[in-house]
């Protein structure tokens, strides 16, 4: 693990800041343009979820550099209301805000590893990894 940096999400424009930083880090690690777009889109979804549902939170980036594998880990965490039914939000087309309902399932398809930890009333943490191949 090389470095870690975080972006606080408070306003809508912080989403842009988060994905720009994420894209820069992805570029530095050596991801191609398609994967950069995937990573930026995933960050955009995660950061927007924080902004929409929790209000405030942060998105952290971590470059993974092992001998065997290189990749980017993104952790989005908030102290919002939490997700009531995680399996429900992972279904395509489920949305409580009138959106497309493709956010979290979409992020899962965009990234390689995907993990949600959510406790009601305490907050949500989404950890995703994209491996460089």
């Amino acid at each position: 693990m090389d470095f870690q940096s975080c972006v606080n999400i408070k306003k809508e424009w912080d989403i842009v800041g988060a994905r720009q930083l994420g894209r820069d880090i992805a570029k530095k690690i050596g991801f191609g343009t398609v994967d950069q777009a995937r990573i930026a889109t995933a960050i955009s979804e995660l950061a927007r979820n924080i902004y929409l549902y929790a209000g405030t939170g942060k998105v952290c980036f971590e470059a993974i550099e092992d001998i065997n594998e290189r990749g980017l880990r993104i952790v989005a965490m908030d102290e919002g209301p939490g997700i009531r039914d995680v399996s429900q939000v992972m279904e395509d087309g489920f949305s409580t805000s009138g959106g497309l309902g493709a956010g979290l399932p979409g992020v899962k398809r965009l990234m390689d590893d995907f993990d949600v930890i959510s406790r009601q009333g305490e907050g949500t943490e989404v950890r995703v990894v994209k491996w460089l191949r």
Binding site: E12, W13, I15, V16, R19, T33, V34, Q36, A37, R38, A40, T41, S44, E45, R48, D92, G99, L100, A102, G103, P105, G106, R109, L110
Partner: protein, 289 residues
Amino acid sequence: MEANLKEIVLNNSNDIVKMWLEEVEKHRKHDYTSSISDELFESTNREFVNVIFTSLEKQGATNDIEGFAERLINLGWPLSYLTDGMQAFRRVTINYILGQSTKVDTQYFSEVLGKVDEWVDPVINQLVNEYSGSWENIVSLQKVALQELSAPLIPVMENITVMPLIGTIDTERAKLIMENLLDGVIKHHADVVLIDITGVPVVDTMVAHHIIQAAEAVRLIGSTCILVGIRPEIAQTIVNLGIDLSKFPTKSSLKKGFESALELTNRRIEDIQSKNNEIEELVDSLDRE
């Protein structure tokens, strides 16, 4: 007692000014103002210290500070020059007063501190307000300018209009896009609208959602919306996200979109070169005869 302190400072202004100038000059070596010429720096320092003393004398004569701050803002001097200067003034004045008095007990000390703060703080506050006011002004002006550019609609041909989108789309801009799009379609009697997203860096579910809504609204008022400028990587992320864009036509480039827009309005682009060739052939054949 209070009047005394002020008198001490005003009567010995020459000494204090000298000390202050030395202090500011000391600060200068390792800092932002190093690119400013010596003459300008010196004259600005003199002016600054005059402003400080007049405000001290008149106790709240704000016009001088205002004018001075405004000029520095226009010249692009950093705010830290002013705050550093005021802090230097505070240090110098306190040192000077304490150095002058023979007996220094705690009460006197705190009185001096309080009094000098009373002089310095309002000036700092006002300077900071002037600066932040000017920044806020600039930011709001830029916001307006950006908003004017954010959703342009270009009528390129009769019944065909183009909306090129460049940069990030947030909720506010998405609303503006929808409004301009619908207004423009009615105003220009457009049958086909091309939305070009070549310049949109990231298409996430929110952006896609707004585009789908806009296209649906355009369909409701009887026109066709074609989404163009979908870059390969954006196409892949849209597929990964599982967004359904099949309800309206999409094209990879503005050129292709424009061609199908012409087709939809029963027109096509014809090469003028071929006509020339025909005429040449005609002339040739005439020559031969």
